[in-house]
């Protein structure tokens, strides 16, 4: 146990942190929390002096999203980082890491809806507007050189999405709209870009994280 404890914390402090984090989420058991903490420490461990105090910065976190969870869209990854970083200090702390992962890996549908909406609501005004959709779907169609207006397809796609999700016809998608649409058709959860790990990646991550330390 002592080997995986971060160096700048006493045993007691560490225990306390673990207990606190355990209380925070019911989805992970104590062992799993410890494993995730360890993964966090390893990821953040490049600069020993910063370890727990600050956490993962944007680039490191994006790196994790890209390599471990197979995400590619820059903008979406940025938004996922913001959704993880609850206190907006530009770092994902240990606590935010555990909380975020609990939704990421084992969240209920409601939690995931909330998470996705946060990701898609680029300016954080509580609505997904036409412009935001356009922004996110910009690169989703293969551009055909023959077409006169290359953005026409994307605009059309935005209209389709809006028609599907805007129940109250105010030309933007509110949280209620989004929730209703997703409950109606689960496929719409990640309507504007993949922001959750797919089952395969999630399983691979869990296996790697939880098994590695079990072996030790």
């Amino acid at each position: 146990m002592s080997r995986i404890r971060p160096l700048d914390m006493s045993r007691k402090q560490y225990q306390q942190l673990t207990d606190n984090l355990c209380k925070l989420t019911k989805r992970f058991n104590k062992h799993e929390v410890q494993c995730l903490m360890k993964v966090f420490s390893t990821l953040a461990g490049t600069f020993p002096e910063q370890r727990v105090a600050i956490g993962l910065d944007r680039n490191k976190f994006r790196n994790v999203l890209h390599t471990t969870f197979g995400m590619t869209d820059d903008m979406i990854m940025d938004r996922v980082f913001r959704a993880f970083d609850k206190d907006n200090d530009s770092y994902v702390s240990m606590r935010e890491w555990i909380e975020g992962l609990s939704i990421f890996l084992r969240g209920t549908l409601d939690e995931k809806i909330k998470f996705c909406f946060e990701v898609f609501d680029l300016n954080g005004d509580g609505f997904i507007s036409r412009e935001e959709m356009f922004h996110m779907l910009k690169s989703s169609l293969i551009k055909q050189p023959t077409e006169e207006d290359p953005d026409e397809g994307v605009k059309d796609l935005v209209e389709i999405a809006l028609k599907k999700m805007d129940y109250d016809h105010d030309n933007k998608v509110s949280y209620t709209d989004f929730e209703k649409a997703v409950k109606d058709e689960n496929l719409l959860l990640e309507a504007f870009g993949p922001c959750l790990p797919d089952t395969k990646n999630a399983l691979a991550f869990e296996e790697q994280a939880f098994k590695k330390s079990k072996g030790e």
């Binding site: 996110m136 779907l137 690169s139 989703s140 169609l141 293969i142 055909q144 397809g153 059309d156 796609l157 389709i160 999405a161 028609k163 599907k164 058709e185 496929l187 719409l188 990640e190 309507a191 504007f192 870009g193 993949p194 797919d198 089952t199």
Partner: protein, 1061 residues
């Protein structure tokens, strides 16, 4: 030992049913091992040896009664073991028939001891009668299945559960022992088999096809040409003349290689060798062997021609390269059709050439199509291509041009069929043999061809106006094609919002090429895209045309693969879509050929349905099982699929799901069972796995559809007597009759009446029906119902009318009238049942007078003119009681103009049942002397005489009856003697059927009034046989036998007297 017996043991080719074990060294070894095993079990494992089999092993034994020792209670007719359980003996041997029933290994071992030298034969007889002994010993859930066998696991669970512990444990041990034996048997047989590898016609044919596709002029081909000497192929696949087949020859080949002289080759079961070549100026071959024997054609040619060997290796390399190339579906989408089309026409020209023997071959093809597996898919692709061609035409050309093209095609076809008829025939033959497609077409029950035709018709009608959705759908499909995952999901969701149930939308998706894209999406890694695509496919596949397209585009193969996925939603959707698509034959076949049945059966395996608090995962599992059952239901309409489901171990799983209480689960499960119940193996399983109880329970369900399927299942299963009794035991007869109260649902009514009909075959059930006052209801249903209901109603009445009370009840409720009216119908099945019902009713004299007044007998008589032998027989049977009970029967019969000649001429039929029934009717007719005179004039005597050589007991009985009755006119006795009827009749006395004895004795008695006949009888040893029969308790028989002997004796006395004078 199941696997070893089905696979390794060499059965004679007697086909299905009771086969015979050939007497080969291999089989003898197998039998000896089994005997050793039986002895070993009874000596080393006393507990297992005492285990009572689920069903006794039953076979016909040749043991003598005297062989049984003190362990048995021996009476005159039976031998019973003293050892017994619950009063039923563990061994039961009926002396007269030789049938023996054994229920434990102990008893088996004892029997083998008794049998001594005959033990081999006894074991053989036992195994022949019990093809799958394990199923009998341990119950049908242990029946030998191919592939994965889960029975062991289920048994283990049973042991764990703790109920009937000792029982299950013994069962388990026994099962282990048996499996051990199985392994041992397989090993020995493998050793034996590996010693002798022989060629067969199929192997040679495959080699020939392969070689022919690689031969022709040019340097790179393996051979210049290779041909059979004879184009005619016998049904066993050989081409050698029959007298040479006796020597093992399969066919003769003429091979021209690049580097040797023309080779004349014999292919025989022993191998391939050079023969003497053609005799000059004739087509005959010098059959003598010249040179060594090689194990197959390829080895032979490699040895003879070096060019062959070189080119062959080169082509093999090409082949492996080729195989790797066409994997990605998306890339080859556009290029493939043209290639394929070329290939197709090329292939066709091949067939044209083939018959002319002079083959001008194109250089070797890169495409290989020899192996069995590849052939069907290849054909499939061709179909796909032709379809694509069609749909493209649809799009590009205006509608009015379309028919023209089809017409052209048709004309082309016609030219081919008329001009090259033989060539087409061989073409078809080849395709038939190439895959299992051909046999599939024959084995299917449903009226597929009509269905197909309809679809085609509709396809041509459509495409008149483009609906408004068309353009929207086109746009959405465009985004599907050219978008990343996110765009695809949005497009899929939007597509789902169209009214997918409307035909215009479904066809629009097809016409804009949406199906190809949707299927392509299934082949990706993206779960969300797959789910979305399947959700749409599931809806639109309700359209028959879409189904066909999906199958032709190869969608089924991918969906079958998806069944392996770990995502349960995906599994559900895929299974449901398969359920929709597999409504036509080729699709069902595709599912099977790609291992779909096994996977679908795998889906059925879920938690016990009855446990109360299920978690979300378990609920999902149950949903998966439901979807699996839906798909199996669709698939189970093909015969081979039924077998495949059984082989994959589907029956116990279905039995488990049948315990469910949810209608949406029960309907597909019962539907599948009902569909499969046309196979006897399923009927047996339904009985032994206690499914009858559940079927009966669900007769009381709320859902009419479920009731209908249950009734239909009972209808099919009640062919079995045991099942009929089970239905009664589970109080199923009442609910069945209750179903009659829903006269609007014709399907339900047909199923329920059918079930009643079949159940009424047992007299005990008729008794119950009598109490349920069924007759009035049934008679009510005689009017205004569709034919399928009528057939069953009348069938039920016919069976019930065997009860005298019901016969009366039918009259009292006014049922005779409508029944006789139905005699004028045209439906064959209905007529068979109606005649039977009328015949049963005619047994009652009061009924008969009504039938007479309605001129029913004339109607029956006219049915004898129908070409269908079933109707002829049934009508003739019905005529018998009519003649017996009619008031002035003789007069009535004479009044039918040409009637007597008609019935006598039916003796020329070759259907045993018809002959027996006609003989019975003739016996009744001959009671009237005038009529007897008429039928004698029509030549009844020689006709009856010519039939006497039959071996069928029913026919013998009625024939002897007819002979006895016909003797009474003129010099018919002498005529029978002259026509040689006497000697065979004497041999009837050796039959085991007492009814035959009685009729024969009477006939012989009548014949013995003619002295010449007496001499013939005496020569055939009649006296001893008759003396034996006098022991019988049947007085008529005694009297006839005595009369006959006294006639013979009197003749002898008169003879002696004459001598001494």
């Amino acid at each position: 030992m199941g696997v070893a017996l089905t696979r390794a043991a060499q059965w004679t080719a007697a086909g299905i049913g009771v086969g015979k074990l050939e007497f080969t060294p291999l089989n003898v070894t197998l039998l000896n091992s089994i005997i050793k095993f039986v002895e070993y079990v009874s000596s080393k494992h006393p507990q297992e040896a005492a285990f009572v089999f689920r069903e006794p092993l039953e076979w016909t034994s040749k043991l003598e009664i005297s062989a049984f020792g003190s362990d048995y209670q021996i009476s005159k007719k039976t031998v019973v073991s003293k050892e017994n359980i619950d009063g039923s003996a563990l061994m039961n041997f009926v002396v007269s028939t030789g049938v023996i029933k054994v229920s434990t290994f102990n008893q088996l071992a004892k029997l083998l001891e008794i049998a001594q030298k005959e033990r081999l034969k006894e074991t053989q007889a036992c195994l022949e009668a019990n093809r799958d002994p394990i199923a009998k010993i341990l119950g049908p859930s242990f029946a030998t299945v191919e592939g994965e066998d889960k029975s062991m696991l289920r048994l283990l669970e049973k042991v764990k559960k703790g109920d009937e512990v000792s029982q299950a444990e013994v069962q388990m041990k026994l099962f282990l022992l048996l499996q051990q034996l199985d392994m041992q048997l397989l090993n020995t047989s493998l050793q034996k088999i590996s010693q002798e590898v022989r060629l067969n016609p199929q192997a040679i044919k495959n080699d020939m096809q392969l070689l022919q596709s690689f031969s022709g002029e040019g340097d790179r081909t393996v051979l210049k040409s290779i041909n059979y000497t004879s184009e005619y192929e016998f049904s066993n696949g050989c081409r050698a003349p029959p007298w040479r087949q006796v020597h093992g020859d399969i066919c003769y080949l003429i091979i021209e290689t690049h580097d040797t002289d023309t080779l004349y080759v014999t292919c025989s079961t022993a191998g391939v060798f050079l023969n003497g070549g053609l005799i000059k100026d004739s087509e005959d071959i010098i059959y003598d062997k010249k040179g060594d024997i090689y194990k197959d054609l390829i080895t032979f040619l490699k040895e003879k021609s070096s060019t062959f060997a070189e080119n062959l290796t080169r082509i093999q390399q090409n082949f492996t390269l080729q195989k790797k190339a066409p994997t990605s579906r998306k890339t080859m989408k556009t290029e493939v059709p043209t290639n394929e089309e070329l290939d197709q026409s090329e292939k066709f020209s091949d067939y044209q050439d083939k018959n002319k023997l002079e083959r001008k071959k194109t250089p070797p093809k890169l495409k290989i199509r020899d192996t069995k597996k590849e052939e069907p898919s290849h054909m499939h692709k061709n179909l796909e291509v032709s379809h694509q061609k069609f749909s493209k035409d649809d799009k590009i050309q205006a509608k009015d041009q379309d028919p023209k093209k089809i017409k052209q095609d048709k004309e082309k076809d016609e030219i081919i069929t008329t001009g090259k008829y033989r060539c087409m025939a061989s073409h078809e033959k080849k395709i038939l043999r190439a895959g299992s497609i051909g046999s599939e077409e024959l084995s299917d029950s449903s009226s597929e061809s009509e269905e197909e035709q309809q679809d085609m018709d509709r396809q041509q009608e459509s495409n008149s106006d483009l609906p408004s959705e068309y353009w929207q759908i086109q746009k959405v499909v465009k985004y599907l094609k050219g978008g990343n995952q996110t765009a695809t999901v949005i497009a899929l969701c939007s597509m789902k919002d169209f009214n997918l149930a409307s035909e215009s939308c479904q066809l629009a998706i097809r016409d804009v090429g949406g199906l190809e894209v949707l299927i392509n999406l299934l082949d990706t890694e993206e779960t969300k895209c797959k789910v979305g695509s399947l959700k749409i496919l599931k809806e639109i596949s309700k359209n028959p045309q879409i189904r066909r397209c999906l199958a032709e585009l190869g969608g089924l193969e991918i969906m079958v693969k998806i069944l392996d996925s770990s995502n349960k939603d995906l599994k559900c959707l895929a299974a449901e879509t398969i359920a929709n698509i597999a409504r036509f034959r080729r699709a069902r076949q595709t599912v099977r050929l790609h291992g779909g049945i096994r996977r679908l059966v795998g889906l059925l395996d879920c938690v016990p349905m009855l446990s109360a608090n299920l978690n979300a995962e378990q609920v999902k599992d149950i949903e998966v099982a439901r979807c699996g059952a839906l798909a199996l239901w669709s698939c189970s309409k093909s015969k081979k699929n039924k077998t495949a489901i059984r082989r994959s171990g589907g029956i116990p799983l279905l039995a488990c799901l049948l315990k469910s209480t949810h209608e949406n689960m029960l309907i597909p499960v019962v539907g599948t069972l009902q569909e499969c119940a046309s196979e006897s193996s399923y009927r047996l399983a339904i009985r032994t796995e206690n499914m009858v109880k559940d079927l009966v329970r669900n007769l009381n369900s709320e859902s009419q559809e479920l009731q209908m399927h249950c009734a239909r299942a009972i209808f099919k299963c009640a062919e079995d007597e045991a099942t009929r009794n089970l239905v009664r035991a589970h109080n199923g007869l009442g609910p069945l009759v209750k179903l009659f109260s829903k006269p609007d649902n014709k399907e339900l009514l047909a199923a329920a009446t059918g079930a009643v009909w079949k159940c009424a075959i047992s007299m005990e059930n008729v008794d119950r029906f009598k109490h349920l006052k069924i007759v009035e209801t049934l008679i009510h249903l005689l009017v205004g119902q569709p034919e399928e209901v009528l057939i069953n109603v009348v069938g039920a009445l016919g069976q019930c009318a065997r009860d005298p009370f019901i016969r009366g009840a039918i009259r009292r409720s006014g049922g005779i009238d409508p029944l006789v009216n139905l005699l004028t119908g045209t439906n064959n099945a209905l007529l068979v049942n109606v005649t039977k019902a009328v015949g049963e009713c005619a047994v009652d004299a009061e009924n008969m007078s009504i039938i007479e007044s309605l001129d029913g007998v004339r109607l029956l008589w006219s049915l004898l003119k129908k070409p269908n032998p079933d109707i002829q027989a049934s009508a003739a049977w019905a005529i018998c009681p009519c003649i017996e009970n009619a008031k002035e029967a003789g007069e009535m019969v004479r009044s039918f103009v040409g009637g007597l000649e008609l019935i006598v001429n039916l003796l020329k039929s070759d259907n045993i049942e018809v002959l027996a029934s006609v003989c019975a009717a003739l016996a009744k007719i001959a009671m009237d002397e005038e009529n007897l005179a008429v039928i004698t004039d029509h030549g009844v005597v020689p006709m009856l005489s010519s039939l006497t050589y039959t071996r069928d007991d029913t026919l013998r009985q009625h024939l002897a009856d007819a002979v006895a009755c016909c003797c009474k006119w003129g010099n018919n006795r002498v005529a029978f003697g002259e026509n040689g009827a006497v000697a065979p009749l004497v041999h009837y006395l050796k039959s085991k059927n007492p009814l035959v004895h009685r009729a024969t004795a009477e006939a012989l008695h009548q014949l013995s009034f003619d002295p010449k006949n007496c001499i013939t009888m005496h020569e055939n040893g009649v006296v001893k046989l008759l003396l034996n029969l006098m022991e019988s308790t049947d007085e008529d028989l005694q009297e006839a036998a005595a009369g006959c002997i006294s006639n013979i004796r009197r003749l002898a006395l008169a003879n002696e007297k004459a001598r001494y004078k």
